[in-house]
């Protein structure tokens, strides 16, 4: 499964997250291994200040 497909399955907007595999930031076309350590890090922040 690619990063893009994973985010689609999870119904996550690719604009709103970074995907980190191990220690590496990865692009949306990368194919994920079955044993990959994946972090999906949200990037949306902020109050109205």
């Amino acid at each position: 499964m690619t990063v893009d497909a994973l985010l689609r399955n999870l119904e996550l907007n690719p604009e709103s997250v970074l995907v980190i595999v191990g220690d590496e930031l990865v692009t949306h076309d990368i194919r994920l291994g079955n044993d990959a350590q994946i972090e999906i890090r949200p990037v949306i922040s902020g109050g109205a200040a």
């Binding site: 907007n13 604009e15 709103s16 970074l18 930031l25 990865v26 902020g46 109050g47 109205a48």
Partner: protein, 310 residues
């Protein structure tokens, strides 16, 4: 995907630029976007002393990092908001960054220095927490910059922040706010210049910058911001962006370049009609400024220290 510049494996793709970059060329891309923002909007010169409002989050730490890398004289100012563990953790990330990079960090603590925490101020004044927080930040960043002789306050507002604010202002046709919404708010009597050098970078880019530079930051969202209107606008804009990459940037930069001038008159003169707050001396339209009124309201409710100079 390959890096657009060197064809090495890419670390990040940016759909609105229809491009991907390796680590080094992505960091260069971010620095170039900040340089363009600073130059285009004449934010500051190398001789200016810059006070960076640092929260421990990705945007402000990325901004501080990029400014000091570019050789600017940039000190940090951290404001302790008193939001329990969230504030404790934010302070740890900020101090760690400052210590590791041997930078000057100034600190203000709302509870210790002004007798209240943001959750108490929100409850006492029946404001949304983000309103009480923003009011405190605007006042204290400005007064600290004046007190310590800085030429400019730089904040980590990014493209997403500004596009979301613009959407909110347009939905309400708030012409006064539209007239003030620019990457630079010029100095005026009682006000230092305020600038937003990250306005050309999305928050996905500032987060990626921190990851690729090895900057540790507070990933967790502020618990008080949950469900606020601003975050809702960001979700809506990102839904549009996913279907039509580049829309957020076109919306914001189109306004800055072609739309803002139509509203400038609605904000003109606002700062000419200000007097001095009779408590702290800050510019205000009334006898007492909004920050001192907030402190007075909180002191009545929770018995915090009465208002004194700020």
């Amino acid at each position: 995907m390959k890096c657009r510049v060197c064809r090495a494996p890419a670390a990040i793709d940016i759909r609105r630029h229809n491009a991907a970059f390796c680590r080094d060329h992505f960091l260069h891309h971010c620095e170039e976007q900040v340089r363009r923002a600073i130059d285009t909007h004449r934010m500051f010169e190398p001789s200016d002393r810059v006070l960076v409002a640092v929260s421990g989050g990705k945007d402000s730490l990325a901004l501080w990092d990029m400014l000091t890398h570019a050789g600017y004289q940039a000190d940090g100012l951290y404001l302790g908001l008193g939001i329990d563990e969230y504030s404790d953790t934010s302070l740890q990330y900020t101090r760690a960054y400052a210590t590791d990079h041997r930078l000057t960090l100034r600190e203000i603590d709302l509870r210790d220095d002004y007798g209240y925490r943001v959750p108490e101020a929100a409850a006492a004044t029946r404001r949304a927490p983000c309103g009480a927080c923003g009011l405190s930040k605007r006042h204290l960043f400005n007064s600290a910059a004046i007190e310590h002789g800085y030429d400019v306050v730089a904040t980590g507002h990014n493209l997403d922040d500004e596009a979301a604010v613009l959407l909110g202002n347009v939905l309400r046709w708030d012409v006064g706010y539209l007239g003030r919404q620019q990457p630079v708010l010029p100095e005026a009597p009682g006000f230092v210049r305020k600038v937003k050098p990250l306005v050309r970078l999305s928050e996905r880019e500032t987060a990626a910058y921190c990851v690729l530079r090895g900057i540790e930051y507070q990933v967790e969202e502020c618990p008080m911001a949950d469900g606020n209107r601003h975050l809702g606008y960001k979700e809506i804009l990102n839904a549009i962006e996913a279907r039509s990459p580049g829309t957020k940037a076109a919306f914001l930069f189109g306004f800055v370049e072609r739309g803002h001038a139509r509203f400038a008159a609605d904000a003109a003169g606002e700062r000419d009609e200000l007097g001095a707050c009779e408590v702290c001396g800050a510019p205000t339209t009334g006898a007492v400024c909004a920050f001192c009124r907030l402190r007075q309201q909180v002191s009545v409710k929770i018995g915090a220290r009465p208002t004194s100079g700020a």
